[in-house]
Amino acid sequence: MILEVDDIHSYYGLSHVLFGISLSIAEGEVVALLGRNGAGKTTTLRGIMGLTPPSQGSITFQGDEIQGKPPHAIARMGVALVPEDRRIFPDLTVRENLAVAERKPRVMAGGWSVARVYDLFSGLEKLDGRKGGHLSGGEQQMLAIARALMGNPRLLLLDEPAEGLAPLVVRRLAEQVRMLKEEGMTILVTEQNLKFALELSDRAYVIEKGQVRFEGTAEELAKNEEVRGAYLAL
């Protein structure tokens, strides 16, 4: 398992949001974390990244305990997060957004560079000198994923990547995520959009009120009307 989250509890101030979430992801898997608004999807990702450290429980990444480490250290170990909103640096140009994220690859071959990222996201190159804040929603999402790749992650956390994007843009995004999957990237993606998530993922977790309510393969979830009706928005 590349990532193991074991029984984490998280709080925002006094309010208890996660009640013992456990999940695990194998290398190369794409796993969906599904649930309604406020179910705890974002908090789980923020917990893994160290932005909202859980008060109990353990999180191991490639066998190392990362719970309690600062976010920049977790990022440098190979975890990348594309947040739900405010996902790029608006005052920095496209190239600068990528440059601040550039890290030396952990393995000799296969490191991401600006050129390689521009290859995958062909629309970005011609926006090179444009400020991040002046991009469209779809362009910003492309830049956000490109920025995350520049850190040469082993695990990519995508928080509602399709949120607020036009259907056509979502299609292209799905293509790009699929390409990353084919390259062997491990991905944990949160979604409310069931179709988008099931199309891409191998397995899914459904959470509600900070607890895991369902765990299974994408096909099992697709067939399980009861779980879909009870815990997911239609």
């Binding site: 600062p70 947040p83 996902r87 640096f89 608006p90 440059a99 890290r103 850190g151």
Partner: protein
């Protein structure tokens, strides 16, 4: 008086503006990365000005470096030797203050008001320190009177003003290059944009904050020494009184935007000087204050602020 606005006042205003700019650019960078108003900024200017006085009059003087009147300027090269030391000491002091005071408050999750009040405490302490060591009387750098330069169109300026504008220009261009070309500069801008995203991107924002202090305090130090040269005097209150023009420039340019702060400083500097054509010069600080109020009422995000 031949023209509507006396050109000499405009030129003087630009020189004053370049001093304000050095202070305001540091202040706005600190606000951008730490999200609080650094009220001790003016007193960092004061302490640097006095440090230069100390370095000139004790160690340099003791080893026989006492020259004054370098070329057309009133001061001698000992001031140029002392300046980098004052900048380094101010930067070092700012880092120590962050580690000893501000970082502790940050880690405790203190709000922006608590941080600003802590910096007010630091401001008062620094001013007290200056008063204890150097006393409250007016002091001067060792100087030699020099003739004013005569520029075209009847403009007369003190030669020191050219030195001040030159230093300010070089420092401003260096800051621009630092922010746009270096890794740490880009990391500073990224942190100011979105601190959580910066951390997620692998940037150690605590290191970025220390660099911001080094740069902010260093700029304040240069501004303080140039102010002491321009006004030909040092007073323990000089930096504190400079806070209103500094904050006016910062807010005019849009908080957190160093380029805005530069132009804001020029506007504040020139307006205050030109206004003396019609009002008593002792009301000069009121001009900066009036600009501050008007901008806060009409364009609270500053004249260059476009994004939300």
């Amino acid at each position: 008086m031949t023209s509507v606005v006396e050109l000499e006042l405009v030129v003087n205003g630009l020189v004053m503006g370049s001093i304000i700019a050095l202070g305001a650019m540091g202040l706005t960078l600190l606000y951008g990365n730490l999200k609080f108003a650094h009220i001790a900024h003016g007193d960092f200017m004061t302490i640097a000005a006095y440090l230069v006085l100390f370095i000139i009059s004790v160690p340099l003087s003791n080893i026989g470096l006492k020259a004054i009147g370098l070329g057309p300027f009133t001061f001698g090269y000992p001031l140029l030797v002392a300046l980098p030391f004052a900048v380094l000491i101010a930067a070092f002091a700012a880092v120590l203050l962050d580690l000893g005071v501000y970082r502790r408050l940050r880690n405790r999750g203190s709000g922006t008001v608590v941080m600003a009040m802590a910096s007010l405490g630091v401001a008062i302490a620094l001013r007290g320190l200056v008063q204890i060591i150097w006393g409250g009387d007016i002091q001067q750098y060792p100087r030699m009177s020099k003739l004013f330069f005569k520029l075209p169109m009847d403009v007369r300026i003190p030669p020191d003003a050219l030195f001040i504008a030159g230093i300010a220009l070089v420092v401003t261009i260096s800051l621009h290059l630092l922010l746009t070309k270096t890794k740490i500069g880009k990391a500073m801008r990224a942190t100011a944009d979105n601190v959580d995203l910066a951390r997620v991107t692998g940037i150690n924002t605590e290191i970025v904050i220390l660099w911001t202090w080094v740069i902010g305090a260093g700029l304040a130090a240069v501004a303080g020494v140039l102010l002491a040269v321009f006004q030909a005097q040092l007073l323990p209150i000089m930096g504190w009184k400079f806070l209103i023009p500094l904050f006016s420039a910062v807010i005019l340019g849009g908080i957190g935007n160093p380029y805005g702060a530069f132009w804001g400083a020029m506007i504040v500097g020139v307006s205050a000087e030109v206004a003396t054509q019609w009002i008593n010069p002792s009301y000069k600080p009121a001009i900066a204050f009036a600009i501050l109020i008007v901008v806060l009422l009409l364009r609270p995000r500053g004249i260059f602020g476009v994004r939300d």
